[in-house]
Symmetry: C2
Subunit: 353 residues, 2 copies
């Protein structure tokens, strides 16, 4: 029965008594082909329901018109937002995007890098695992001059194009803000230090403390994977013994939200007893009560820069370009109730008009 249903350019060629090369060129609007021929070819192509085979073209051209993306997980606000932007932007350039999630597993990340290479993606965009410290699985891309861009969670000491947030500044601004609101004992809940993101924020936190004349105590930083469960446990640790901190800078919003819930449950008033600042400006920070101050990372800008750099790399003179460069996207503190001064109720920015 239906053995060979797929139409190819040779079917078109036969039908029109043309050579396949002419058909191919006609479909690609090659200047050497007469207008009449192009028209005839396209008409028959439509009639036969011809669909180009991207695999064949990709094999021949050595390019797949496909970009790979590896992120920890697409269900988290920040990577999800960026993925969306990257996807939509790439579409404009005629590129497909293969979105993959490493689930924060190093092994999966390695496996994904390999399959994406095998798929001969024309470029790779990565935000690494929390635990990736060896980046050699990306060597294939570097060595074969396949555009490689890292964002947000970027490598240390690995020469590639990097687009990251200003995490040092983020940590600094958040901490300074808490201090200015009167906090004297500021706890920081950080992610694992293997991830440069967090070490930068910690550095900003320390710098701010010093500048504010507040003592830095090692015991006032907690390092953990920033999940809901861990946040809750850490709260139990923090509020398990006196003295309680009067400010908490959480390195992500899930943690900040969980702190709010913990405080509510245990009768701690936010911001009166303890002030809180989160990170990423996840929309959830706005709907929780009290709403949470957070550091906005301009995901839109970051996503657009990622695509821009990638396209430059793909189209540009790749040998000329420096293989390494670092671009820093600014951050901005969004003040909400959770860190409002004791006197005022704090201004609530409503996104609705």
């Amino acid at each position: 029965m239906s053995k060979r249903t797929e139409k190819t350019i040779v079917d078109i060629a036969e039908e029109l008594q043309l050579s396949v090369s002419t058909v191919s060129r006609a479909l690609n609007d090659h200047p050497n082909i007469s207008a009449r021929t192009k028209e005839r070819v396209k008409k028959v192509a439509k009639k036969l329901g011809y669909r180009p085979n991207a695999l064949a073209a990709g094999l021949r051209n050595n390019k797949s018109k496909t970009i790979g993306l590896i992120v920890p997980r697409i269900s988290m606000f920040f990577p999800a937002t960026i993925s969306t932007i990257i996807q939509n932007k790439l579409q404009e350039f005629g590129y497909n995007l293969i979105i993959c999630q490493s689930n924060d597993s190093y092994e999966q990340e390695v496996a994904l890098a390999n399959t994406l290479y095998s798929a001969r993606v024309d470029g790779l965009v990565v935000s690494t695992t929390l635990y990736t410290t060896d980046f050699s699985h990306f060597d294939v891309f570097r060595n074969n001059n396949i555009p490689l861009v890292f964002f947000d969670r970027v490598p240390k000491d690995y020469n590639v194009k990097v687009i990251k947030g200003d995490d040092y500044r983020g940590g600094y601004v958040a901490t300074t803000h808490l201090a200015e609101k009167g906090c004297k004992d500021i706890v920081h809940i950080s992610g694992p230090l293997t991830c440069c993101l967090y070490s930068d924020r910690v550095a900003g936190y320390k710098a701010a403390l010093q500048e504010q004349g507040l003592p830095f105590k090692k015991s006032r930083i907690f390092y953990q994977e920033l999940t809901r469960e861990n946040a809750w446990q850490t709260c139990e640790k923090i509020f398990g013994q006196q003295p309680y901190p009067d400010g908490i800078f959480a390195a992500n919003d899930t943690t900040a939200i969980t702190i709010i819930e913990y405080c509510r449950k245990h009768g701690l008033r936010v911001p009166e007893d303890v002030k809180i600042v989160g990170y990423s400006n996840d929309p959830r920070t706005e709907i929780v009560t009290p709403s949470i101050s957070s550091i906005d990372q301009y995901p839109g800008m970051m996503g657009e820069r990622v695509v821009a750099v990638l396209m430059e790399l793909i189209n540009g003179r790749q040998s000329a370009e420096p293989r390494y460069s670092q671009e820093i996207i600014p951050i901005q503190l969004i003040e909400r109730q959770s860190s409002a001064g004791k006197s005022k109720t704090g201004k609530k920015k409503l996104t609705l008009s």
Copy 2:
């Protein structure tokens, strides 16, 4: 300089003085190849840094080991969760996933279907646009026996594999719940009726009203794209004139959350003055105050069924299988504060242990 850096199986063959066929078979663990040869081949492959070219293999085999996914947007909770599950599950089966978002634009959906076909995906999974009523852009897949599975937002009158939530029941359960809690005047904020999802929920809503002996009024249903902005406007309409409803069934959680915000701003007490039920059990419903009752759609189950059906289609005797079948995933009402009875405070389900 670095002209031809990519190693192929012919490089391996040359190095070992073997034929390419032997090398190919060795790499694929073909039984006819001696253990010794396999070992030698694999060793040299590793040494040379050989990476299989999936494009070439795909072209030859007429299969790409890649699945396409089209969803409205991956930044929404429900599609995001399902995408994650599908991705991770497919990975186990050795399939790649190309995630694409239509941004709820029919034109984009059509374009995506075409490119994914060109990419020769081995299967396509779709949750359609709100406005897709013509499904002919998927004909190529049907006609060429490429597994095609729809979920959540599924077509009407288009013979394919369908996995959907029990939206009729969802509408019914939500409405009945509100009625049982004492609501006499229940407004329903629905999505556009072009999407079967919403028409089913509306049907459930009507059925419940009737069963509860409550009158159905056309003016008590609002049809709109379920965005934050629209929700706010609709609130202004609803509470712009008396009588106020005492219950609102919102067809998604973004809407439900916005209603809460509106009520808070305007001094309406939830659940005392008006009770609210949302849809999808978005995690945000849990962190907002008051927390929002919602209909859980078991995204995990749905995602797993999607992949299961897809794999059956890919591996199974596809001619035997009926091309059409519909599977319905159950729903469950999660009761929270927003619909608690006047006397009780309502039980709050905390996910934390």
